[in-house]
Symmetry: D2
């Protein structure tokens, strides 16, 4: 499934990024700039225009691309695949048109992750204006849905917290019938909250600070529950509390899985080892070693650590990712690699 | 219970600090330097000697005190009360002698917090060499043990994580009989790990990083369980996971209390409000507001927030303190204020 | 010069703060809250109203004050002294009215620091609408202008960079006739840029970053030059470059004074020692010791270090302050103490 | 100049790293791991042994290399080129043996940067035990010495501060005869101080802090002066003050060049533009834009900004690099690329 234009070699595809001025869009741009099978042919943003090397001086001398006001006709003409790094609710006004124009669409917003438009409206506070497309979107978590992604034209790229949560819990949730409760104590760096100027994200507010927010009411909860339920084969509930870390990038989820029957540390370690045996981007740590955010920063890895309580009834799973990479842009490119039949790790190692 | 020497007015007591070169000792020093009822008359450290204004230039022009090599005879002669900011295992070789000499002793180490020498040895890896004195030590958490502290000569000052945990859980644990499980997801700034030079505390290792450590095996677990069990009237177990925050000072504990019968948010909020009604240093936040580390940094406050799951079965309690103040030096001075009949908040607001 | 109202004891004055929701206003509030001779009787802000304990939860249980929409008639009625922590250009519309109403006014904005309205307009980009009051304002740097401040009704509180620069240079500039050039390489924490939400102050932009800004064109340059010229007795020019540190509070200026005749390190150290002999808040460091921002954070100190090049022609003066305390709120309170005849260090140690 | 062993294709060379457990050695390792023309065949450290994925869990699943106790016979057998990331004074006991064994040696220590053993001893406090090899070492700054590096067997890789300083000053120093004074106000992240555990590098000491150190006495001064003098054609002196930034990686030098005749901003900008016209890793910023550390972090770029005082007599040059990349490991790999005739940017973009 290569590109169908004549200007580029057949193993090169043309990619566009909408919303390139935000942190997620910038990360997609930075990754694709080094990707051997990709030419970035179109970048746009709502409120920022100009040369990429001016908007982000880190790209000075590395690109001559110009960030445009978004024009869907141009996107359709210039791109084979387009990454939507747009705010929630904006993707759903754009995605159906781009799909109709024959493009592959990888949406990094939350607009197509939840299967029920009603649940979407409840958690995101907006009516879903494109409910028809929801069913077409494949959830872009390669470790669980690789076969579907291969054939997809439309990917709903997972949220950052859900990526760390679902990858950390999948082996247990998909195999155990005795799970009594799941608690997810999640901590994220500030870039996860985006680049819009607000007082609560100012340096002097975040620095030397730490707090819980949206306690038991974070909009990523239903996304996690939806996919855990799918893996479990029955409705699975979680208690999810998000926290804000004084770092720029990185998520660490500490998850407490309470089992009725119990499990030993060796057993659970073996279970995870088998589950992720062939995965390039999930690294199970040896027993006794805990993941650290700095080991996954600027990478597409999800690192996992395990511990079990003396009574064997509580498994503590810790999972770490870079929220902008495996939790957003990196996973999006991983999905693109799968769709186009490139090496899955291309541009990501 | 004022001082019994002639040099100072009767409302002034003479205080000594052993281990003043560490972060906890420095904090006791900084607080006492401003305390209207205290003259610091003796400071000592094991490996650092010299003028306090040289060891810590922040004290330049503010004190002429000289940090000595520790000499217990001098301590006994020069002080009414002494603060032990010594490493674990060192306090127990010093405390009995100072008590015998008639001093009030406030021990900030872990040596006298656990009632069983056997449990101490199991978690701290050292034989307890002064088991006789353990029973004499009053646990210095004023909100729970104020009456005992008033009459105490010897205070075992609580650990930092236990202070945030026990204050956050006491109202529930002491009143509910339907607690099924307690999970404490604890996060601390780096100063809690002390001032000894080790690679894992270097700036470049901690900065932009976050990790869990001593998962389900932190030595503060038995201290928390001992006092929760006392409050509950029966053995109470916890699952405790510590994490290292890239900040200098502050602890935030996120605690999940699972109840069989359930409780509403209003009910649990009312319960906490009553419990801490007369306390100066515990601040229950309004419903919907979460504590933040920066609000308690450099203060003796413990801030508490509450949330309840939709099924009313999980209460999420968040508690925030400054690990060096309410979690160590500030609480120690609060205990001193109680012992000497000073205003309990003196030097702490 | 005590208050003239009947509700409070005669050694208590009533203070108001306008612009209390910004970082500088908050700092004035925090300092005055602990000041034994002050009752805060009025606080206001332009865009934020409500209980101080809600706006800043750190003040929960510590005050019942309500932040109002600004009403000058109320200020005049309720206050003896008022602190203007308003944005530049707003002070000049308020100050003359409050002065006319008989209040003492301490203005923390830049509106009355420059003696020439023309220079003000050139650097701040706004016409000065109250040029008549400029001459009435005393520059509130106690170490240089204490006698004038004693008699002042109106204080122009110095800027943060100028405080560190002028205190660090005054001994040399006021005594040497052979100064050839002065370079001020200034570095400030982010709180100096205020609390208005802008992208360039977001955590993810500042964290792990460092940059120069307004190179040779910072609006504090003319303020520094005005007072150095006054001290020197002739026009004195500087090269001033500001930088943004990834810390919340603190300034360190590294200043290079090039002399024609030269000076030894001992000579310059003696000069500074004498100059600041009786000052409570300027701490000259011993030869070989350099100031550090953390030693002055949350204090009203200005710490100074000295070095001299081997050819004796270049003196390197380093000066450190907390930009919000000695660089703003602390110095403002120090000025208030002087005006009212309180102990100059009251509330500041 | 390719490798001469049979196991690898002829465009692949075998590289060794001595001192891989320090921050510089780790950075060389991370860069070479992705380099298409390099196989890392040997890594060693003095005090740390074991699998690289254990020592640095970030390399888990990415390498099976084992860090050995250093054995020079093995190095000689297994490597074509070897990177010395050893502490100062250790390189000079190793380098001559490896050179004799026919290896290319790239030394990241300071041992061979200074041409005079006497000056070395004066600034580094140790006798130079291999003065004979000094003349053989080529200073590895490609922008100035590319032709020599092409033919070199032995490279003295520049220091971090000198890289930012010399690149920032070379265009002026090599063309102007009217330079009166050069002041270098340098600021570095903490990783520049290495990974040895010391109290002054602890997180709690560096965080929220900033200070000058080794004022006018930093050991990088003679290195900068040596190469500036070479460029100028006469003895050139600097005033150099180093500062410690609370960030992990990055250097920003603010440099004040005082000219007798003066220069306009356009003139100096044109001068720099021409000077670095063909350079891949030096990015001159447009007039009015200042370099920022975050734009060069984790890259091999040196970003440069320019400003000129109104009287045209002071040029302010700001230069930013990542101290571990362009200031150490990246520049070392750039030198290797040049020696072996690889694309100079290979592995570095």
């Amino acid at each position: 499934m290569k590109n169908n234009n004549l200007e580029y070699p057949s193993d090169i595809i043309r990619a566009g990024i909408l919303g390139v001025s935000g942190y997620t869009g910038r990360e997609v741009f930075a990754i694709l700039l080094k990707h051997p099978n990709v030419r970035i042919t179109y970048v746009a943003a709502n409120n920022t225009q100009g040369l990429m090397g001016q908007i982000y001086p880190e790209f000075l001398n590395r690109t001559t691309l110009n960030c445009q006001k978004m024009d869907l006709a141009q996107v359709a003409q210039k791109c084979d695949v387009v990454f939507l790094a747009l705010p929630h609710t904006e993707s759903m006004s754009v995605a159906p048109k781009l799909l109709k124009a024959g493009l592959k669409v990888i949406d990094l917003s939350a607009d197509y992750r939840l299967k029920s438009p009603k649940v979407y409206e409840q958690w995101y506070g907006h009516k879903h204006t494109d409910p028809k497309s929801i069913a077409k979107a494949v959830y872009g978590m390669p470790e669980l849905y690789r076969q579907k992604i291969k054939k997809a034209n439309f990917v709903a790229n997972p949220g950052c917290y859900p990526t760390a949560a679902i990858l950390g819990l999948a082996p247990l949730v998909s195999t155990r019938n005795d799970i009594q409760a799941i608690i997810i104590d999640a901590k994220s760096g500030v870039s996860g909250a985006g680049r819009k100027a607000t007082v609560d994200k100012l340096y002097s507010e975040i620095n030397e600070n730490f707090k819980a927010y949206k306690v038991l009411s974070h909009q990523h909860s239903p996304e996690i529950e939806q996919y855990l339920s799918q893996l479990a084969g029955h409705v699975t509930k979680i208690s999810f509390v998000a926290h804000l870390l004084p770092i720029t990038r990185g998520i660490l989820n500490t998850m407490y899985v309470q089992l009725i029957d119990g499990i030993t540390l060796n057993q659970v370690h073996t279970l995870y080892k088998k589950f992720y045996k062939t995965e390039s981007f999930v690294r199970l740590h040896p027993i006794g070693v805990q993941p650290e955010v700095k080991n996954v920063a600027n990478t597409n890895f999800c690192d996992i650590g395990l511990a079990v309580s003396p009574d064997k009834k509580t498994v503590v799973v810790t999972s770490a990712i870079d929220n902008l990479v495996k939790g957003a842009a990196g996973q999006a490119v991983q999905n693109m690699n799968i769709i186009y039949g490139f090496n899955e790790v291309e541009g990501l190692l």
